[in-house]
């Protein structure tokens, strides 16, 4: 019961992530997503499948899942304030 409640909470939290992102980009704590995307697209063209905003050790990170033309899914981690690509890998 608790686990299921917790699950609901986390999915809800993930859903609310974008509203958090909006507040942060309005206050200037992170860059707007539109300004971050070109760097990722430059590294790997594709369509966004999923996007999550995470906070780790005081840094805001975007975790981006990208679908390329060949049908492969890429995962990126990018610093939401500087736009620096931290991690790039093909998802298994």
């Amino acid at each position: 019961m608790l686990i299921s409640l917790l699950l609901i909470y986390t999915t809800l939290a993930a859903d609310e992530g974008y509203e958090e992102a909006r507040r942060l980009s309005e206050s200037g704590d992170i860059l707007p997503l539109e300004e971050l995307l070109p760097a990722i697209r430059k590294a790997q063209p594709g369509r966004i499948l999923e996007l999550e905003l995470e906070r780790k050790r005081g840094r805001y990170l975007y975790e981006v899942e990208l679908l390329d033309e060949q049908g492969a899914v890429w995962e990126f981690k990018i610093d939401a304030l500087t736009g620096e690509i931290l991690q790039r890998e093909l998802e298994d």
Binding site: D15, Y18, A21, R22, L24, P32, L33, I48, L49
Partner: protein, 446 residues
């Protein structure tokens, strides 16, 4: 095909048809493009309208405001920057957006209840959004709902289609122009027999044009035939008049000739001899005119000189006349030497030249005919020929040579007449092969 000649009917037809075809294709393309644009936009707008209603159904009111139940809306509204967005604007100005909007700011105008609009605006990453905005009231709350879709993917499809359509239209246009060119040329080919007929008309082989021509040409052909009829009547009348005159003059001229013959015989006065010569000349001219008038009457006027037939006849006659001399008379001419000029003119010219050659020849005479656009006649004999001074003198005098040729017994007056008539050239020299006189004549086609 005379493409650049503005005076050609063919060119005008080509240009006119090409212009209308291009216009038609262009209009078709514009109409197609406009139709597809409206159609796709209407289609997407109606889908957006349905999504707006589904969104309205998914809205629940909580303490903190409006909440959209995620299970009740399409997944596409959850994926960031998916191209499908919604914004719910509440009475107090607070907004709830779909997750797909992420942190992008969509400016949505406020709508009154029952009011709706279609807008175009730029979305994230330059997406071209079609936005359906509408005002609703739910549970006493006034809401403005905006549902948007990115038009770029469908626009890309549409552009591709329009480009292919344009290429196809261009191809079709070219094929049509080609076909049309063939049709036009085919139509003009029907005029070819008419042209041939007119050509043979000039050659005197026909008297009238056939009236079995395309309808458009019929009035022209009838007019030409009418003119031909008038012309031939007038021609005959004037020839008859000339003939009559010549006939009427013949009697008095004979008397005069007789008189001068007698008087020159008796006292041998210079004036009388000269006058006698002139009278003789006038008499010859009258004879010639009478002959022409007779020919006109017999209807063979305007016939062309046919080397195959006429030359042989002429040679037969000459062989008959000079039977005693046992001459070898050769005719050198190609088997397909085309007909040339007026039959009577050429026969007179050839007759005189050959008669002359036969008169002076010892045993051989050769006549060579050649040329297509011009007729080249060479008559050679193996007689004494002319000494070089005589040749030079005759060549120098050029067209005035007829004046005293008669005195030389060469009978070249008529030859000279004909050469002048055909704007040709006349030359005398010594035949390299037969060693006698060589006369070369070049006649131009009239």
């Amino acid at each position: 095909m005379s493409v650049l000649n503005p005076n050609s009917l063919e060119t005008r037809l080509h240009l006119g048809l090409a212009f209308t075809l291009i216009l038609l294709m262009g209009l078709l393309w514009l109409f197609g493009a406009k139709s597809i644009e409206t159609l796709t936009e209407d289609f997407i707008a109606s889908r957006l309208e349905h999504d707006a209603e589904a969104l309205l159904a998914a809205i629940a009111f909580k303490q903190q405001g409006v909440k959209v139940r995620p299970a009740r809306v399409n997944q596409i509204y959850l994926r960031p920057y998916s191209g499908h967005y919604y914004v719910v604007r509440q009475q107090n100005g607070a907004e709830v957006t779909s997750r797909s909007v992420w942190d992008f700011k969509l400016q949505i105008p406020r709508m009154k209840v029952g009011e709706s609009r279609r807008l175009h605006m730029l979305g994230p990453e330059q997406q071209q959004l079609l936005v359906y905005v509408s005002g609703f009231r739910k549970q006493g709350q006034e809401l403005t709902l905006a549902v948007a879709e990115d038009l770029l993917p469908i626009k890309r499809q549409r552009d591709l289609f329009l480009r292919n359509f344009a290429l196809l239209a261009l191809l079709g246009l070219m094929v049509l122009l080609l076909l049309q060119g063939m049709v036009v040329r085919q139509a003009f080919r029907r005029l070819e027999p008419l042209r041939e007929e007119i050509k043979s008309l000039a050659g005197g082989e026909e008297k009238m044009l056939s009236e079995a021509v395309p309808e458009e040409m019929s009035p022209l052909v009838k007019e030409i035939n009418h003119l031909l009829l008038l012309l031939s009547r007038r021609n005959r009348r004037s020839r008859n008049a000339l003939g009559n005159l010549a006939h009427a003059l013949k009697g008095p001229m004979n008397l005069l000739t007789h008189y001068f013959d007698k008087s020159s015989n008796s006292d041998g006065r210079m004036d009388d001899t000269l006058a006698g010569q002139q009278v003789e000349r006038v008499r010859l001219l009258i004879d010639r005119e009478l002959k022409r008038a007779r020919l006109a009457g017999s209807g063979s006027t305007g016939q062309r000189f046919d080397p195959q037939r006429d030359l042989q006849d002429l040679l037969d006659v000459l062989k008959q006349i000079y039977r005693e001399k046992r001459l070898t008379i050769e005719a050198v001419t190609a088997a397909d030497q085309p007909p040339f000029g007026d039959r009577e003119d050429i026969l007179e010219l050839l007759g005189n030249l050959l008669d002359n050659a036969c008169k002076w020849a010892k045993g051989r005479v050769r006549c060579t005919l050649s040329g297509e656009q011009q007729l080249k006649i060479v008559v050679e004999d193996d007689g004494e020929g002319l000494v070089d001074e005589e040749v030079a003198r005759m060549t120098m005098r050029g067209s005035r040579l007829d004046e005293d040729m008669e005195g030389q017994g060469l009978g070249l007056a008529i030859v000279s007449d004909v050469v002048t008539l055909y704007e040709g050239e006349l030359e005398f020299d010594r035949s390299p092969q037969l060693q006698g006189l060589r006369v070369s004549v070049v006649l131009n086609r009239l």
